[in-house]
């Protein structure tokens, strides 16, 4: 651990600003002892460092391997990170189905390969409009039907906008799965393979793994947010398709570029998917204009199994006819 002596305010980017603010949020929630609670210096160093904000208000650089994601109490995990309202913006002009988001998310949440929290659709709105790749995380709706229909309060809406699932309370009735109009939720049909889990107690914030017979879904990675990191999918995307941020502070970042949320939505014609349903999602899309890749690039380098998943799409069917 070394102190960041070159903390030049002029060099500080918007990204740092966001990270700082996210980490501060975590600091408030954990009330003191941030660094000691979240760091485990006994682990072997990985060589990669990340910047975090200490409780003294200083930015410090720590080794990546030393960070322990905080497991907040069940009560805290129900309340959310104070003063935050998280939002995601997905730039459809950039997506080429690289699937890094899918894979990183599966890895981070210890999901089996058969299950995804983020899916990538090949949508084509009408016959005469162009097809495009459409990454779909959970929309973390502000009017979530999944939460309304849950008979035991296992899934809930937090003050920071995130909809979480408490896998230890879920009875597995699957009503929320049919309640979600975006097919976001997945069910643990059989036991997941074993994985190395640290000894910390379970927290709904880490969403992993879906216990057999319960429902799980994309969670906006609140455990990463608490330590000032971006969700797995955002950090993994090589194209910077996914922006993540805080609507209260009006800022979103994809890790390398940072924008004012309201400006980005205004200038790029941002919208929410299926607004007509009244679920009020927290995920916005930027329309696929001035694309960076032709849609066919999305099939490059796909496994045969993954490629076959798109066989039923109108676009692929049409291509095959030719």
């Amino acid at each position: 651990m070394k102190k960041n002596s070159e903390n030049n305010p002029k060099k500080s980017t918007r990204r740092d600003f966001l990270k700082k603010s996210l980490a501060t949020g975590a600091g408030i929630a954990a009330t003191g002892g941030l660094v000691s609670a979240y760091l485990d210096t006994s682990a072997a160093e990985s060589g990669e460092t990340v910047k975090v904000l200490s409780t003294d208000g200083e930015i410090i650089e720590v080794d990546k391997a030393h960070i322990r994601y905080p497991r907040v109490s069940r009560k805290e995990s129900r309340e959310g990170i104070p003063g935050k309202k998280f939002v995601m913006v997905i730039d459809l002009a950039r997506c080429k189905n690289a699937r890094a988001c899918v894979e990183k998310c599966q890895e981070g949440h210890h999901l089996p390969k058969s299950q995804e929290f983020i899916k990538i659709y090949l949508l084509q709105d009408t016959e005469n409009t162009a097809p495009y790749w459409f990454p779909k995380p959970c929309f973390q709706c502000d009017n979530p039907l999944c939460v309304s229909v849950c008979p035991v309060g296992a899934t809930y809406k937090r003050s920071d906008g995130i909809v979480l699932i408490d896998s230890e309370r879920c009875i597995g009735c699957k009503f929320c799965i049919t309640g979600c109009p975006y097919s976001t939720r997945v069910f643990a049909w059989s036991d997941y393979p074993e994985y190395d889990e640290d000894t910390q107690p379970y927290s709904p914030e880490s969403s992993s793994p879906g216990l057999e017979g319960t429902v799980s879904k994309c969670d906006f990675c609140p455990d990463l947010i608490r330590v000032g990191k971006l969700p797995y999918c955002v950090a993994a995307c090589p194209m910077g398709v996914i922006y993540f941020g805080d609507i209260e502070e009006d800022v979103v970042t994809n890790g390398s570029e940072t924008y004012q949320f309201s400006e980005l939505i205004r200038d790029r014609g941002g919208y929410r998917y299926l607004e007509v349903l009244g679920t009020r999602p927290s995920v916005y899309y930027l329309p696929p204009v001035e694309r960076q890749f032709p849609v066919d690039r999305g099939f490059d380098g796909l496994d045969e199994e993954v490629r076959s998943r798109y066989d039923n799409t109108p676009y692929v069917k049409k291509q095959k006819k030719r």
Partner: protein, 438 residues
């Protein structure tokens, strides 16, 4: 006090209770074997997880929920038919209401088991009470079904009380002592005194009204589980009344089949005549018309001013599910109407066949409500393993479905061994004078 007619009736029906024939024993053994197979399937499902079923992330509810709706619907037969006929003092009802009441209570015990089979964590069932939230339609359902079970039990018990006391007082019955004791306890000291008679009559009237109301609520709540969601095929205001009508309709079908079977087995030709089949057949005809009307309204509005997803659903129904759709929503409506509508065709055999068609049609109707809707969600099913896209029930699910039917048959058989399948006491009563009818 037992009158002459009643005791002569009892004399006729008591052998039914006194002994079990060899064929009946084989029949019971067969049913137990089917139920055992179901238990084995259940064991596999619990041990290996829901992965052994055909349900996956897209179609998360399969034939279990279809069976749930189906049995709950069947249970409505007795509630409405015996309740309504009781209140209207319809004389002809007397030989068949006992069967209707048996159907109600037995189907009501089986139905909820199927919703339990859909639940991933049965070990956490108590959370429904501990953490119950009133805004969830599942909680409404738990409350409604629990109330329904209690209500129907009371109604059935009141309906068999007089027969229980009659058997207790019937000295010639060749039944073991423990059985006699059982009747003694179950009869609750009912002696047929005028005051007791009056009270029992009043209580039965109240409960008859109650079970009708409760059953309407239960069935509407069940429909709302589907219609409160945003799924294109389910989000319909008509679902409440539609489900209620469909329920009575299927219950009617089951009642006719049960009437036919018991008539054959216990030689009840003297009591259950063509008139009964025609009368219940006419009720079935009216319900077929109503059911057809609701089905037509629902699909017409979906098809005519169709949103994109309604269009996809209709396409799927008329494409993949064409024959099932025709069988359930055309044949199932028209066949019972034609059979009863044309006087020449109104034979006991024909009406029973139409009832079998109705039962099949209604089961398929529920399948078509549940499965194709889940196969055509707002976001097209993509990026999930291709073998997960469509639903095919596995043998586990079929075995558990079959064992539900077997359990129904078993309970009907055992029920008829404890209480005469015809309401002996009411048959012995004098007909109610017309001016006393409501």
């Amino acid at each position: 006090m037992a009158n002459d007619k009643q005791s002569s009736l009892l004399e006729e029906f008591i052998p039914q209770i006194e002994r079990t024939s060899f064929i009946q024993a084989i029949w019971i053994f067969f049913l137990l074997a089917v139920i055992a197979l179901g238990f084995y399937a259940l064991y596999l499902q619990i041990a290996e997880g829901h992965a052994v079923t055909g349900m996956r992330d897209n179609v998360v509810w399969g034939i279990y929920i279809v069976n749930f709706i189906f049995f709950m619907g069947v249970s409505y037969a007795g509630a409405l038919i015996s309740g309504t006929l009781h209140l209207f003092r319809a004389e002809w009802r007397k030989p068949i209401i006992r069967m209707a009441e048996f159907i109600t209570i037995i189907a009501l015990l089986i139905g909820p088991i199927y919703i339990l089979l859909c639940i991933g964590r049965l070990d956490r069932l108590q959370y429904l009470v501990i953490y119950g939230r009133i805004q969830s339609p599942i909680t409404w359902d738990v409350i409604a079904i629990a109330t329904d079970i209690v209500g129907c039990f009371i109604f059935l018990y009141l309906a068999i009380l007089r027969d229980l006391s009659a058997i207790r007082d019937f000295q010639d019955a060749k039944i073991p002592n423990w059985k006699r004791k059982m009747y003694h306890i179950l009869a609750l000291g009912y002696q047929g005194l005028p005051e007791q008679k009056k009270r029992l009559h009043k209580a039965t009237d109240i409960m008859a009204g109650m079970v009708i109301a409760i059953a309407v609520i239960v069935y509407s709540v069940l429909a709302w589980i589907f219609s409160v969601t945003l799924q294109p095929g389910w989000h319909s205001t008509i679902f409440g009344p539609y489900f209620v009508i469909a329920a009575v309709f299927s219950g009617c079908g089951v009642l006719i089949v049960v009437m036919w079977l018991f008539r054959k087995i216990y030689h009840l030709e003297k009591y259950i005549t063509r008139k009964h089949f025609v009368n219940v057949g006419v009720i079935q005809l009216v319900l077929a018309a109503l059911f057809g009307y609701f089905t037509f309204s629902d699909y017409l509005t979906k098809w005519y001013g169709s949103e994109r997803n309604d269009e996809l659903l209709i396409q799927l129904l008329f494409d993949e599910y064409f024959w099932l759709f025709i069988l359930s929503n055309y044949v199932g409506v028209l066949f019972p109407m034609i059979v009863v509508g044309i006087p020449k065709l109104r034979t006991i055999g024909n009406i029973t066949i139409s009832a079998v068609v109705v039962i099949l049609a209604l089961w398929i109707n529920r399948y078509l409500i549940v499965v194709p809707t889940l196969e055509s969600p707002y976001l097209p099913i993509q990026d999930s393993r291709t073998e997960w896209m469509f639903y095919n029930a596995t043998w586990i699910e079929w075995a558990l479905s079959a064992s539900g039917v077997a359990f129904f048959a078993l309970m009907m058989t055992i029920g008829s061994k404890i209480i005469p399948i015809i309401n002996v006491s009411e048959m012995g009563d004098k007909p109610v004078p017309e001016e006393e009818i409501l």
